[in-house]
């Protein structure tokens, strides 16, 4: 079992860093269509921030970020978002994943394609982040870690 890293410096630094990592991860995800970045990268950063709390914070605090089974559910929701966004164009007679066919009033088809890319990236990010945290929790369940010695 992984034990909590027993150092005030590490714990405090992690506590301060986690929100910034998460904000930057959201930036990487949502700006992925305009600048380098995207779902896989942003999702990995999001997962890294939560795994950092798993390492440094007490289990009950870390589980407040993402409860035990919710990581896997989040991964499923991500895949579902991708699938639903991909299936929507079928309703308007376009092929699977052809986002440009979605008739959003006032938005040009090119921009709809960009929006489709963005929606899909969000799904990818949720899937990657959820699954990474889920695999980490499979290997080291957050509620069952040993307390640091001498506490």
């Amino acid at each position: 079992m992984i034990s909590r890293f027993d150092s005030v410096v590490v714990r405090t630094a992690a506590k301060i860093l986690v929100p910034f990592i998460q904000v930057f991860a959201l930036y990487v995800v949502f700006h992925g269509a305009k600048s380098p970045g995207g779902g896989f990268q942003g999702g990995a950063m999001l997962a890294a921030s939560i795994i950092l709390t798993r390492f440094t914070a007490a289990p009950e605090i870390s589980l407040r970020y993402l409860p035990d089974l919710w990581a896997l559910r989040l991964g499923g929701v991500g895949v579902l978002i991708y699938a639903v966004v991909g299936l929507l164009p079928l309703l308007w007679g376009a092929p699977f994943l052809d986002y440009g066919a979605l008739p959003i009033p006032g938005v040009h088809a090119n921009e709809v394609r960009a929006l489709g890319i963005e929606a899909v990236e969000v799904g990818v990010a949720l899937a990657v982040a959820g699954i990474m945290v889920s695999i980490f929790d499979d290997l080291a369940p957050a509620g069952r870690r040993e307390r640091p010695s001498g506490r």
């Binding site: 992925g32 970045g37 991964g75 994943l97 890319i117 695999i135």
Partner: protein, 89 residues
């Protein structure tokens, strides 16, 4: 046994090094990889969709089906880890 294993490793290494010499140079415009859809992607990505990031455009639109498969594979891997590694608390 160990001698044969070593000779196989050396033979494969030599073979790969020899074969590597005949690969097309990196980023060569006339290499087989660049002669199919790559030119279309580079020329039309900006026009087809409103993103300056061609990588995202290829990843999530032109090759969206692949990316959907990748995401599903990631999820399947997580599900397999869950089923194999998780022990009841």
């Amino acid at each position: 046994m160990r001698f044969w294993a070593a000779s196989v490793v050396v033979a494969v290494t030599v073979l790969l090094l020899l074969a590597g010499g005949s690969l097309p140079p990196l980023r060569a415009v006339d290499s087989p990889i660049s002669r199919t859809v790559e030119a279309y992607y580079v020329e039309n990505a900006i026009r087809d969709m409103d993103t300056p990031n061609i990588v995202s455009a290829i990843l999530a639109d032109y090759r969206g089906y692949d990316t959907f498969g990748e995401t599903t594979v990631v999820f399947a891997a997580g599900l397999a880890c869950f089923l194999l590694l998780r022990r009841p608390l």
